[in-house]
């Protein structure tokens, strides 16, 4: 017993070092597996608060650009409305049927955005208080951004599509073939669409959209256009490089998508 205690006292620095190293490696390995990195996260009040405060200052420098982007989105929405033949002046009456949509959108502001690492995360300033919960999709007016992974009361962490753990269903706009979106960590403007079957017919410049096969994203949200493609080694699947519509290094406001039917669909699947 005495010898054990002596050993511990003699090597206390090394033992402390090994203990802390083990702890940091556990955190590291957790961060490399999807949905497990909850412990060390920027959604707490300290880092969320600091980023929110920082963003409230730097926000002003992008106001002009942001206004322009909003005007463009409004223009597009007005054009869509006129195509549908709907009066663009809103009628102020409560109609319960118009609220009962399969998907509802909540706006949020990006307060921290990474795009230079292998596993990138985005922090937004809405949390459980605004009914943002894990597994909700995040989009902008141009296309998809990622999926909510971890929430606190006031902040949520979004696993960006520029993350090696991210797998999102996507497919071709003009046919029903679909594959999964992954990122190889090289260029933040280009992501990869895997396992599109060989029978698919497409060419460079075709649009890639979400396919609505999961409950996270509705069908038809834009992702990007095909930059180039090649067959994989055993020549059964295509590997497609997709150029994103979004500039991932410059995201201001985003929308979180909540699916109304998620509980029902999940209960059927299980």
């Amino acid at each position: 017993m005495q010898q054990i205690i002596n050993f511990l006292i003699k090597n206390k620095h090394s033992l402390l070092f090994l203990l802390l190293l083990f702890l940091s490696l556990v955190f590291t390995i957790q961060s490399h597996s999807y949905h497990k990195s909850k412990f060390v996260s920027s959604t707490n009040f300290l880092s969320g608060g600091l980023y929110g405060w920082q963003h409230s200052i730097t926000d002003y420098f992008g106001l002009k650009q942001e206004n322009k982007r909003l005007l463009e989105e409004n223009e597009w929405l007005h054009n869509q409305l006129s195509l549908l033949g709907v009066d663009s002046i809103p009628k102020r009456k409560i109609d319960t049927t118009s609220f009962d949509k399969p998907y509802t959108y909540t706006k949020a502001r990006v307060i921290k955005n990474d795009y230079s690492k292998i596993d990138n995360y985005i922090l937004i300033d809405k949390g459980e208080k605004d009914s943002i919960f894990p597994d909700m999709g995040i989009i902008t007016d141009k296309g998809i951004i990622g999926i909510v992974e971890n929430t606190s009361k006031n902040y949520s962490r979004v696993i960006s599509i520029l993350n090696s753990n991210s797998r999102i269903n996507a497919g071709l706009k003009k046919s029903n073939q679909y594959g999964s979106l992954v990122w190889d960590g090289k260029d933040p403007n280009i992501i990869q669409l895997e396992t599109i079957p060989r029978q698919a017919i497409f060419k460079e410049g075709d649009t890639i959209i979400t396919h609505g096969r999961s409950t996270i994203f509705p069908r038809g949200i834009g992702i990007g256009t095909i930059a180039n493609y090649k067959l994989n080694q055993n020549k059964s699947y295509y590997l497609i490089n997709v150029k994103l519509f979004n500039d991932m290094s410059n995201i201001g406001f985003v929308y979180a998508i909540k699916s109304r039917d998620i509980e029902e669909i999940k209960s059927l699947e299980n």
Binding site: T28, S41, S47
Partner: protein, 168 residues
């Protein structure tokens, strides 16, 4: 609490704030960021008590991880350079370290440069190996380590020269 302890606490806080609000978002040439918060570990007193130093270094790394959503990679890298700092000091300063007479603010440029290079390279290679965590990307790890290290070393040397204390 004496003046030196206060100085180290203030340095800790200022370095963390500068790192997470400014330097983590530089993304020079696409993805290069300097990680100068390790100046805290570089400039810790030579005769510091080892166990608290390891814990403080670990916490420093963990705070950077928390802000950067990077799991525990900074914590591991900080811990390793804090643990192996005596080895680096002995390697660079030799006998004067053994007799505890070396003062980082008074050593020559060459020795200080060698010390910074050694520590920064160790930190960055651990950092990027764990961050990328895939040995099929070994070239990417080495590339990022090399370029980020150059960036960090230049900024660190500038900071050390600019914020030098005249306590002679």
């Amino acid at each position: 609490m004496n003046r030196d302890t206060l100085l180290h606490i203030v340095r800790f806080i200022v370095l963390v704030l500068v790192q997470v609000t400014i330097l983590n978002h530089i993304n020079f040439l696409g993805s290069l960021n300097p990680y100068i918060y390790i100046i805290f570990i570089l400039l810790a007193p030579i005769n510091i008590n080892k166990s608290p130093f390891l814990v403080v270094s670990f916490i420093l790394g963990l705070i950077i991880d928390m802000f950067g959503d990077s799991g525990g990679v900074h914590a591991a890298a900080c811990l390793i350079i804090a643990f192996f700092r005596p080895v680096a000091l002995r390697f660079v300063f030799g006998l004067s370290y053994e007799f505890q007479t070396v003062k980082l603010s008074q050593v020559g440029f060459g020795e200080r440069f060698a010390y910074v290079i050694l520590m920064v390279l160790t930190h960055h290679i651990v950092l990027f190996s764990l961050e990328i965590f895939n040995f099929s990307h070994i070239l990417l790890i080495l590339k990022k380590t090399l370029f980020s290290s150059i960036f960090t070393i230049v900024i660190t040397m500038l900071v050390l020269v600019l914020f030098r204390r005249n306590d002679s």
